[in-house]
Amino acid sequence: MSPRLSWDLVADWEQLTTYPFMVQALEAGAIVAVMAGAIGWFMVLRRQTFAGHTLAVISFPGAAAATLAAIPVAFGYFGACGLGALALAAFGGEERGGRSGESAAIGTLQAFALGLGFLFVGLYGGQLAGLEALLFGTFLGITESQVVTLLCIAVAVLTALAVLGRPLLFASIDGSVARAGGVPIRLLGVVFLLLLGLAVAATAQITGALLVFALLVTPAATAQLITARPGRGLVLSVALAFAVSWLGLGIAYFSPYPVGFWVTSLSFGLYVLARLATSGAGWGARTA
């Protein structure tokens, strides 16, 4: 029997949670969304979305290599993103600027990572079914132990963000004053990239390498359009990420189209709405 939406929310919720795979998908979706919403907010503020995107792309050759070597894919994800974060930190330029040189270096790294990914997929013998999962995710094939691993990682990343958050915010928007005030801005930059790598590796296993961005960037960018208050922005970013991931899962369950499509469409729609609302309301709304 294929699920049908009854518009009776209680009955629909019961249908949605009938199967364990769906329960685990909802759990994983919530965990990933909270983590991605929080770290994504800092990433957007630091203008490191390109670095984040590159980490996501790097996870693809990592996972492909792990599949090829017949070791657990998770090792591939975490190994590649960890190495990628260190490489980005090494490329990441001088403390006195040089962002354009930095983005060119990051782009080079990204191109190389994609090339490696296709090499590994090629060596694997053209089994393209696996490729689609690596790129677009396996939302509906999550095991219970994966959920537990995810939860541990999310707790670790969120705890680290809570401890580092304020100096990280200072370093992100006001590097030279933060440095003069004794904030170790270089070290913080490296630690942030490692946390981002960890979060991306965990998220990419669920959403796939290409859809990480739906949860990492779009809710954060939307939240920053809506409010310029750091506390509220963070909470809003997390709430939006959570909403789009659960709504996406719910809609996908009752429709023939994949989860990834719904999650990205919903978050894109919210972003466009926020842009229209803030530009329409002019200065008044931008100050909120």
Partner: protein
Amino acid sequence: MTEAISLSGAAASRGGSPVWSGVDLAIARGEFVAVLGPNGAGKSTFLDLVLGLLAPSAGAVSVLGQAPRAARPRIGYLPQRRSFDTSTRVRGVDVVRLGLDGARWGLPLPAALSPSARAAAAKVDEVIELVGASAYAERAIGTLSGGEQQRLLIAQALVRDPELLLLDEPLDSLDLPNQSAVAALVQRICRERGVTVVLVAHDVNPILGYLDRVVYFAGGRGVEGPPREVIRADVLSRLYGATIEVVETPSGRLIVVGTPDAGHCTEDHEQVMV
């Protein structure tokens, strides 16, 4: 009382090449001091030395009677050419607040729960009021004009009640009315709060009337003294090793003529990314 800043036989070098050397100076507490000189002469380098971000390659530096690094919590600092572009979605008050406790680890408590958080918020409001930025402090800082941002950044530098204020070209990129307004504001802070102000400037005229002392860097050396004893043809000619003229206009403005090009272009690497 000890001096605010004293250098004896100090030399600075960057990336292995000397910037200036043999500099002796003593800045008393409560003075309003301008640091002048051509591009690349080492004005910002001087501030880096005072902040302890750079160690002198020779000689000694003492700040507020301490080693520069140790004195840092007592210094307010506004770096050169800093502005926030329109996509920086953080309010002015948040930027000021970061100057107060941004270096602290851990989450801040909401003001509703903690008296110290309320005191912090009150302190932030007080300095914003002082610089006259209350009307726009709640707006995202990227949407403010250069002059409005500059006032908030001065508030940020003031928020910890510093004894010494280091301002690197705070008048840069401001129009003339704003230059005199910000200069007057800094002078008021200096006089009313007894804060020692060291202000790097390219044009001495907007602040000339307020100055107690001038430090002039050029030609790999530095001299200090009262403005009209330093900005003089003979002193500057000796410093530059070339013939320099100083012209005074009837309204009292000083114009320095004939400075050779410093031979450096420091426009690009000075840009601070935010």
